[in-house]
Amino acid sequence: MSLSDSSLVGAGSVAAGTEAAPGSEGAAGAAAAGGQAAAEQTAGVRPRVRLSERIAAGQPATAPSVNRTAAVERQVVFQSRNVSVDYGEKRAIDSVTMDINRNYATALIGPSGCGKTTFLRCLNRMNDSIPGFSLGGELLYHGHDLYDARANRVEVRRRIGMVFQKPNPFPKSIYDNIAWAARNLGMRDGMDERVERALRGAALWDEVKDRLKSSAMGLSGGQQQRLCIARSIAIEPDVLLLDEPASALDPIATALIEDLIHELKARYTIVIVTHNMQQAMRVADKTAFFSLDESRIGTLIEYDDTDKLFSRPADSRTRDYITGQFG
């Protein structure tokens, strides 16, 4: 099974062609990021400077607007068109329309019960096993309908990984936690290197390299959660969905996870549900605010660049929420 970026790009007709157009700062960006981008992307050099790189370079997060508007040209991974979800008789979310961009961290925020986790779990079909679940509208992944009858949900999840709210390592050794899925997917060669790469990618290697054979249940909560991230990236997915990944962790472990998200989005597209607005501001390029509408159904209120959504929200409900005047 080939899962190179190029095959996925080729399949996503929506995204084709938008990639080559260089922005105004394209030449400089390509010079700065080209080497790294070429190493990590087989689909070609993307001359866009990412938010994380700007932060790393000491530039303000509120970048020139020309840079942010360039985002509309970014490759689109998920296209949600008027998506609604029903659990039996009860409608959980209604009319969610948004595009999620490649190599962005996209945050979903909003009050409890507003459907942000439901929407996240739709993105890799984790809701399928819930009795009475049905999805309306259209949810495209690189142009393919995720809920098409021919779309195989095991294949969907193989490309779109997920990390859950509570760390859920398998009761196996640290090594086997990471190697197990890869082995089952036929990635047998160079397993030791794969495990090390995944653990390094999740910033866990130094802490566990001497006890790879001991049980993962003996790790701290923060370490377990990073192990779960390592487990997800070990199979080289395209997208990582994070469902409140730091809500069960202390501030230090949370900071580690957030740093990790900045690094991971260079390689993966990240969608993160969070209750913590500061966290969304710290990690997300774009933020979607979900809330309940008049009939108590979760829906997307506003979706914009993170800095704009938090500094100049267009919708009064967003403003009330982010200033703590909700409800």
Partner: protein
């Protein structure tokens, strides 16, 4: 006296509290008495079997053959122990996969409606009178092919399947759903998840269930009475022949009636009780310890 006590009154029992306390104490005493009786019966049973049987214990008794012609006069229960072990082993080889796969079906794959029917069936199966299981295999197998260890083992496996199935189901259902989600989110097919995550996590419970089922089958009389009740009492391992076994041999010795035979029956009974208790207690201790070790 009014129902509402004077708040300034001393804090001694007032109103009907004395009566309520007496009833409460009486109820607690009744439960303690019942629990004591239940344990006492077990202790008395073991004590009586030990008193009658412990004098028989010797290596000779555990290995020797009962002499033909005058069984019970001398010799031991070696062939019966070997035959019971053989039949229980065969029964478990049959029952373990059936029981575990049934439990997996119920826990992982069955629709709620079908699952309920199958689970009810499993529970009814556990309550089947064992003589009926013996008769069923007798009519199905023994009547056509004669008595054999296989027929006895088949009957015992019917005893074991619901025990293994129900306890395995419980163990599999105790596997946290978050582990299934984790495996699902890694793009692993369901059966791989079952083999790679769910069964290993539930293995303690499944092993314990199996050991308990072995202990139960070892002591069952009715299923083997009609299906493996040999006329000769020597060592016999051919699964196509009837093999001697401990429960039926106890019955045979008791039926002989004379004192030395009855004493041998008690000896065999004591061996059986000790073996079953040891297996049971050992399995539970092992389960508790290994579950704690895994942090479950």
């Amino acid at each position: 006296m009014s129902a509402i006590p004077d708040p300034t009154y001393a804090l001694t029992a007032s109103g009907n509290l004395r009566r309520r306390q007496a009833i409460s104490r009486g109820f607690v005493a009744a439960t303690i008495a019942a629990a004591t009786l239940a344990v006492a019966v077990l202790i008395m049973l073991v004590y009586y079997a030990a008193k009658q049987g412990v004098s028989q214990l010797s290596v000779h008794f555990l290995t020797a053959t009962l002499p033909p012609g005058s069984p019970g006069a001398s010799g031991g229960i070696g062939p019966a122990l070997a035959g019971t072990a053989e039949m229980v082993l065969m029964a478990t080889i049959i029952a373990l996969p059936v029981g575990v796969l049934t439990a997996l079906y119920l826990a992982e794959f069955a629709s709620p409606r079908v699952g309920k029917v199958v689970q009810t069936g499993l529970e009814q199966m556990a309550g089947l009178p064992t003589i009926i299981i013996g008769m069923f295999i007798y009519g199905l197998v023994t009547l056509h092919f004669g008595q054999s260890a296989i027929a006895g083992a088949l009957a015992l496996s019917i005893v074991e399947v619901p025990l293994i199935g129900r306890a395995s189901l419980e163990a599999i259902r105790r596997v946290p759903g978050s582990l299934r989600e984790a495996a699902d989110a890694l793009g692993v097919a369901r059966w791989r998840t079952v083999v790679g995550v769910i069964l290993p996590t539930a293995s303690n419970g499944i092993v314990t269930a199996t050991i308990l089922a072995v202990a139960r089958a070892a002591g069952e009389t009715a299923p083997v009475l009609l299906n493996s009740n040999p006329s000769t009492l020597g060592y016999q391992f051919n699964p196509l022949q009837a093999v001697p076994n401990v429960p039926v041999e106890i019955l045979t010795l008791l039926n002989l009636g004379y004192p030395s035979a009855v004493a041998k029956a008690w000896g065999a009974a004591f061996v059986l009780i000790v073996a079953i208790l040891a297996i049971n207690i050992g399995a539970r201790v092992w389960l508790r310890r290994s579950e704690r070790k895994r942090g479950l």
